[in-house]
Symmetry: C2
Subunit: 315 residues, 2 copies
């Protein structure tokens, strides 16, 4: 069976992104290793442009368009990091970006997207697809989904390609899963490049659709979850689910208070500003499911982003 991206797609994505994005650093901490009982290698996407991994997929999609398509602009709907990522990607390519944002999107996020030069349309969250369709009809812009898209998944895969080059011989990689763009990119990169590495997906216990989907062998829809990990409230997509089903070894769920504890440890010891969704991989490393495994000595942990509102810290 063929997945959303094959190795050629991922290699092509890497070449497209290379002139624009530097590899993010991998950081380590003796004290966090001691807490987890193994060596951890933190792939630090908070240092990525836009403060999260999202630019990888957005930029790969935008750079994949023909000149003619690109000239008509790109379009997405998003309340969060992907909106900003697409705006940056469009600016890099020098084409228009249209972003449909919900009426209740935080003002700072709307301002950030506008600062990157995107044209913003506000609407009620429930109408976002129909409003996006109208913008598309009017402008001819290409719609770029935030995660359930082969070009986006191939772009997100470059994060794990870098990690595998930066740290050889990883026994496992822990990756957050929400909609699954980053997870799918990670699992596909591992599948092609380091098949003996175990891929572990981490999600909030309060938004455990991926764990339940995997257990049941079919996609369980995400109800409206209440979790501090706002990047992980989305359900799986048609491109991301088969990868979770086939190429991810297990899903580890993390309670809310342990997401916050993990985030705090990362701030205190690693000195990296990580958002709750970004910290969940370390939270998973501290769960019994992983703590009790002696065979996983060298574990990569993808810290997916660092866009947090300092006025609303959970500690």
């Amino acid at each position: 069976m063929r997945y959303a991206a094959d190795l050629d797609d991922i290699v092509a994505a890497r070449e497209r992104l290379a002139p624009h994005l530097a590899a993010t650093p991998v950081m380590t901490s003796r004290s966090l290793d001691a807490l987890a009982g193994r060596r951890l290698f933190f792939k630090c996407e908070p240092f990525q442009r836009g403060g999260a991994f999202k630019i990888r997929g957005a930029l790969n999609a935008v750079l994949s368009l023909s000149d003619e398509e690109a000239a008509r602009g790109v379009l997405t709907h998003s309340s969060g990091n992907f909106a900003q990522a697409l705006a940056i990607a469009a600016r890099i390519r020098g084409v228009p970006a249209h972003v449909v944002m919900p009426d209740d999107a935080p003002a700072v996020k709307v301002a950030a997207v506008r600062d990157y030069g995107a044209t913003i349309t506000r609407c009620p969250q429930a109408h976002r697809q129909e409003v996006a369709d109208r913008v598309r009809a009017r402008t001819g812009a290409t719609f770029i989904p935030s995660y359930d898209d082969p070009r986006v998944i191939a772009g997100q895969a470059t994060c794990t390609v870098e990690l595998l080059e930066q740290v050889p011989d990883l026994d496992a990689i822990i990756v957050p899963v929400g909609g699954g763009g980053l997870m799918a990119g990670c699992a596909l990169a591992v599948h092609y490049l380091s098949p003996d590495t175990r891929v572990v997906a981490a999600e909030p216990l309060a938004a455990d659709d991926a764990a339940r989907s995997k257990a049941l062998g079919r996609v369980v829809p995400q109800a409206a979850p209440r979790t501090i990990a706002d990047g992980l409230r989305t359900g799986l997509g048609v491109h991301t689910w088969p990868v979770l089903r086939d190429l991810v070894a297990e899903v580890v769920t993390v309670p809310e208070d342990e997401i916050i504890t993990a985030m705090r440890h990362l701030w205190e010891r690693l000195k990296v500003v990580v958002e709750p969704s970004g910290a969940i991989g370390f939270g998973a490393a501290l769960q019994p499911a992983l703590r009790n495994r002696d065979d996983l000595q060298r574990v990569g942990v993808i810290l997916s982003g660092g866009n947090v509102d300092l006025d609303r810290l959970p500690f």
Copy 2:
């Protein structure tokens, strides 16, 4: 005139530290550059072992001792980062560390020093020197001052040596000044290795003894200052003052609220957990004294540490 360290001392320190400390990264941010109106290169000491630059000087001093001296142990008094740094340095050399800490030192800092294996003696702050003298008489341990010491200054200089190698052609470097160990190391490294680079010292307006000392041409004692930058409350020393007087171009003072704003910008944009004392260099870059200078296009900013109490954030 001869200063606390010559180039050979600094080169020797670098060689001593190299097996134990990796070079800390230099980070950049387009949005922070835009705020400052020039290109900034942030030398990130929060990622240093112990969370601050202090380990450089402590370790150079400990590794400079003869085997016989070292075997009797090392000793300091400190309420903060240097206590932890000396404990780590002693553990690296495998010798005993004794730390005199004030009764009101934060419990987390005391615990951190103890975790590194140091023997702690608590006493009222006013009696710290006499208590340290007693420990020295009893143990034969070598006293290591936290900043006013040639070995410590040579160690702190390695931070700037790295920065000069990582970023060529800096027009200026901004360095925090409290007691002056980091400042003196920085200015001496620049003096020997990049004499056309302008050294700017940054201090709190509420603890402006360095600015006043430089203006008057003599050391003005530090009164008990009230500043959030707890690492910069110390006065100048006999080894650090001549360097400030002769080799630092200017001292820029930063009001309290602008220290906090600078810290917040660094957390939000650079995603690095920086403490107030560590953020002051960026605060200085935003002051009129530097904002209005068109000749300083490429400026290094030393972010000296990231040990902050997350329960007492100023924002």
